[in-house]
Assembly symmetry: C2
């Protein structure tokens, strides 16, 4: 085994080996938590895991292995949870309150075959937010989680530790970014219409935008290609389909800094 992966474990012995491996090959007292944003039904949503045998939910997260950077840990955890590579990922804040995450207290009643030292009484967590295309994600459960859902940030259920605050802070960072960077193309399917893109921006910002001005602003970035096709089916004028041009996007980023 060369990476912490608790999925598809055949039996308890194998699970125990995996946990032991993770303990021995990970940094202590520090972890990574990810706010994974997706867009579905005109709503911005966050990927949440239900902690097995409880009504508490958590964000996908995990420890940092000794042989990987913090960024790499975030990528690995996301690949494990979503099946996606090359995700847009951004570190936004590190959470370090003394009592924010007492794992040892949390697992105390579970009668696990490990000494208490395996679990931390305190951990600092580096928060990342990810932008993923909802339809491409195949959420993965494991021995710690018995449900996984896309939930709107303002309708979160009871969350473990300070994960509620982590989502709030991550959303704030995303909002601050979107004002001057068209990063949201990571959240859209390959082709989309201008009204669809506008709905995404509105969902992130939590406010309505002017149609005409939105269109002009986005097109002025010169990172979109208008296709010949249109999206038919609505009882109205068929909107054009657009596609992001990654090379132009890179060019735009360079011109900004």
């Amino acid at each position: 085994m060369d990476s912490a992966n608790f999925g598809n474990l055949q039996d308890f012995a194998e699970l125990e080996r995996a946990i032991r491996w993770a303990f021995e090959n990970s940094m202590k007292g520090i972890s990574v938590d990810c706010v994974v944003f997706g867009f579905h039904d005109n709503q911005l949503r966050v990927l949440c895991l239900k902690v097995k045998g409880s009504d508490i939910w958590s964000l996908p997260g995990g420890h940092i292995q000794l042989n990987e950077s913090v960024d790499e840990a975030a990528y690995r955890i996301l690949k494990y949870r979503t099946g996606l590579d090359h995700i847009y990922l951004k570190q936004f804040y590190t959470f370090g309150e003394v009592n924010r995450a007492n794992v040892r207290a949390m697992v105390a009643g579970l009668k696990l075959p490990f000494p208490p030292e395996y679990f931390e009484t305190r951990a600092v967590s580096v928060g990342y937010y990810a932008l993923v295309e909802y339809s491409k994600v195949r959420p993965v459960l494991d021995f710690m989680s018995d449900d996984i859902q896309w939930i709107e940030p303002d309708k979160l259920p009871s969350m473990i530790f300070d994960h509620h605050e982590i989502v709030a802070t991550g959303l704030k960072s995303l909002r601050a970014q979107i004002d001057h960077l068209p990063i949201v193309y990571h959240l859209m399917p390959d082709t989309f219409t201008m009204p669809e893109l506008q709905k995404l921006h509105e969902a992130i910002l939590g406010e309505e935008l002017d149609r005409a001005n939105f269109q002009k602003r986005i097109l002025s970035y010169n990172i979109l290609e208008r296709l010949e096709e249109r999206r038919t089916g609505g009882a109205h004028k068929a909107p054009f389909l657009y596609r992001f041009i990654p090379e132009k996007y890179q060019e735009f980023l360079r011109s900004e800094f």
Copy 2:
């Protein structure tokens, strides 16, 4: 002893006790590093420590005690180094590359009376930047440092680990902040002239600003009080003295968000 403090130690035995105490009462594998900005001689400067017995410099930093948050650790370290309380402090990034900080390798030749486990082969560091008033700081040396200097960010000497990158990233964050927040009042003395404030902004941004427009923009924030006095002595019209009004500043912050 209730906090890590290596200053004014009477003898080696006491120093040894202090190090042992810090080892036993601190989180492992994680630390805090601070980019302390000051303004002097019309130059933005960063507080740097020279590592004892070497030509390598470092930023003020340290470990996080078990009973304090990461923010509190940063405040404690800064108070220890500068003597200042109530410093403006902002977390800006967490540095987590695998090989960024191998303390064990660094101290290997020093023949210290501690087993290797006392020193980390890997540490993640949470970066903070601080804004302080140069003239009020009384820099403090200790057993790890034999010089302390205010150095311009683009004239840094050889720095330990990735501290060069930490300064660069911190400066970038400060620049991004200053565009829409007049936070720099923490860097100025109680009273100052408009040209002096402009020099500070120019030093941070690395570019010249228009005098008239700068004045109008700053005054439009309504956080400055113009005093009756003027700064005399120059071979030219005597400029007005100004003072920041903390209450108005707080009011401005609230109106922005």
